[in-house]
């Protein structure tokens, strides 16, 4: 089966700095893939390229049989890729449910004329959208928090609201940038459960950037390791864990060892 996402020899430079260098990566449909690597390895940059925030300096990105690099952000979203952000970027002065409703933008039809007329069809569609949004929030474990302003949510809730908003797009592929950052072990476990459900219940392909080895090993079926903008290893969690170059790259950071020990 053809991969849902295919990154082909992609590089990205910022002035002098090469953030990504010749990265190639295939992702199978309905898999959960981890991207790991030390800070500054280029993981977030990879996500930014996949979602159109940056354009690659060279290389191609193919998604479901068509080329998406260089497309504007909203076209990539429409193609079926959505994401969360390492530094949470919610619409902070909007309520939780409004955030999710914005995520449904592509699946609603109301325009200026129909909004002004306010015909029953429009009102019903809006009502339905609200119900769908509530369902998304409940999926992400935010039932009951609909009317809270995003900025007033607890940190962990904000991370989950980002996921609720991302699934509101009904994506084929979802990119999670450090979803458990700053969470305690209990919260991380809940997040692992949520990530699995994304795939198992919604059938979404997941790529996640993660630092906690416990999470990576626990949820990812396949792992790509980045270091200094290059892929230094890929494979199953066990293969990667025993890869000499990975161990070297992490030497001194202690991440892998402490993670593996858990």
């Amino acid at each position: 089966m053809a991969p849902i996402l295919s990154v082909r020899d992609v590089s990205r430079r910022f002035q002098g700095l090469t953030a990504l260098n010749g990265v190639s990566l295939d992702v199978e449909e309905s898999s959960i893939v981890g991207v790991i690597g030390p800070n500054g390895a280029g993981k977030t940059t990879l996500f930014n390229l996949l979602t159109g925030f940056y354009k690659p300096t060279s290389g191609e990105i193919w998604f479901r049989g068509s080329r998406v690099d260089g497309l504007p952000l909203h076209r990539i979203a429409a193609a079926g890729i959505s994401r969360t952000f390492q530094n949470i970027r919610l619409f902070s002065n909007m309520t939780a449910i409004e955030n999710v409703l914005v995520g449904q933008h592509l699946h609603l039809q109301t325009n200026i004329a129909t909004a002004v007329l306010g015909l029953p069809a429009t009102t019903n569609a809006e009502q339905h959208a609200v119900e769908v949004a509530v369902a998304h929030l409940r999926f992400a474990g935010l039932g009951g928090r609909e009317n809270e302003l995003a900025r007033n949510l607890a940190y962990g809730e904000q991370r989950r609201l980002e996921i609720a908003r991302a699934i509101a797009l009904r994506p084929k592929l979802i990119l999670l940038d450090e979803p458990t950052a700053g969470m305690n072990p209990g919260e991380s476990d809940a997040m692992i459960g949520l990530i699995r459900r994304l795939r198992d219940e919604l059938g979404v392909t997941v790529i996640l950037i993660e630092h906690q080895m416990r999470v990576v090993m626990g949820v990812c079926e396949y792992i790509t390791v980045l270091d200094h903008g290059e892929v230094i290893a890929m494979g199953t969690p066990t293969e990667v864990q025993n890869d000499q170059r990975v161990i070297e790259a992490y030497l001194g950071t202690g991440h892998l060892k402490s993670g593996a020990a858990e």
Partner: protein, 303 residues
Amino acid sequence: MEQWIQLTIDGITLGGVYACIALGYTLVYGVLRMINFAHGELFMMGAFAGVYTLQGFQDHTSLNEDLPSLTITAAIFMGIVVAVVLAVLMERIAYRPLRHAPRLAPLISAIGVSIFLRNVMLRYTNARREVYPDVFPDGSIEIGDVSVSYIKLFLIGMSILFMVGLYLFIQRTKTGTAIRAVAEDRDTAALMGIDVDRTIVLTFVAGAALAGATGVCYGMYVGNAAAGMGFIPGIKAFTAAVLGGIGSVPGAMLGGYFLGLSEAYTTKLFGAQYKDVVAFVLLVAVLIFRPWGFLGKREDRRA
């Protein structure tokens, strides 16, 4: 041919003024990513400070005739002082509390400051012009068929002097280095021990000093000061800053002269009434085709 040379000289004269004001926009934009809408009014207030100083000398002494160089220097100094004081106040009152507010807030606040200053002066002067005493020697030098008045030469020279001064300040002094560091990356600069608040104030001070001094020289050149005089030059200087690449010091200078010359030639080619239109046409054109300007850096969105 002489006419074109004459136009070129006019363009350089005006361009120097635009460049000096544009530097203030660019510096403040560099450190705060904010357009200081009220910057043109600092230029205007400088011109008023200058005219009142010279009128004071006129009324109470004979120094304007005996020692014009002294009174002119004093006028420029007063222009600088007034503009700097106002700039510090406006930063403190209208901008600093909004540093973390949504991006529209400081912009609207700046527009408020601009409207306020302009109309305070409009009331204070009863909407009349204040005429500069005749301190500067009349006359001109002739080169072939082209004649250039002394005051024009003075304005050209002063604007170059101010710019060189500012350039050295930015490049050679510790404060200048701090300003550049804050413009590059405020958080990193703070980590390296730079007092960001103080640096931002000093950036306003530097831009204001330049605008105030230029205001006095420009006022002497046109012969008066008026409440509305900062508005159009302010917008045009902003255009110059964008043309050159906002945030770039050499860009602001280049943009200023480019705009000054474009305007001078437009007067000849299309008629004087289109003089003010050309700046905006250029602004829109550059924003479409090269939004980072001649010398600016492209900025990626951050994620």
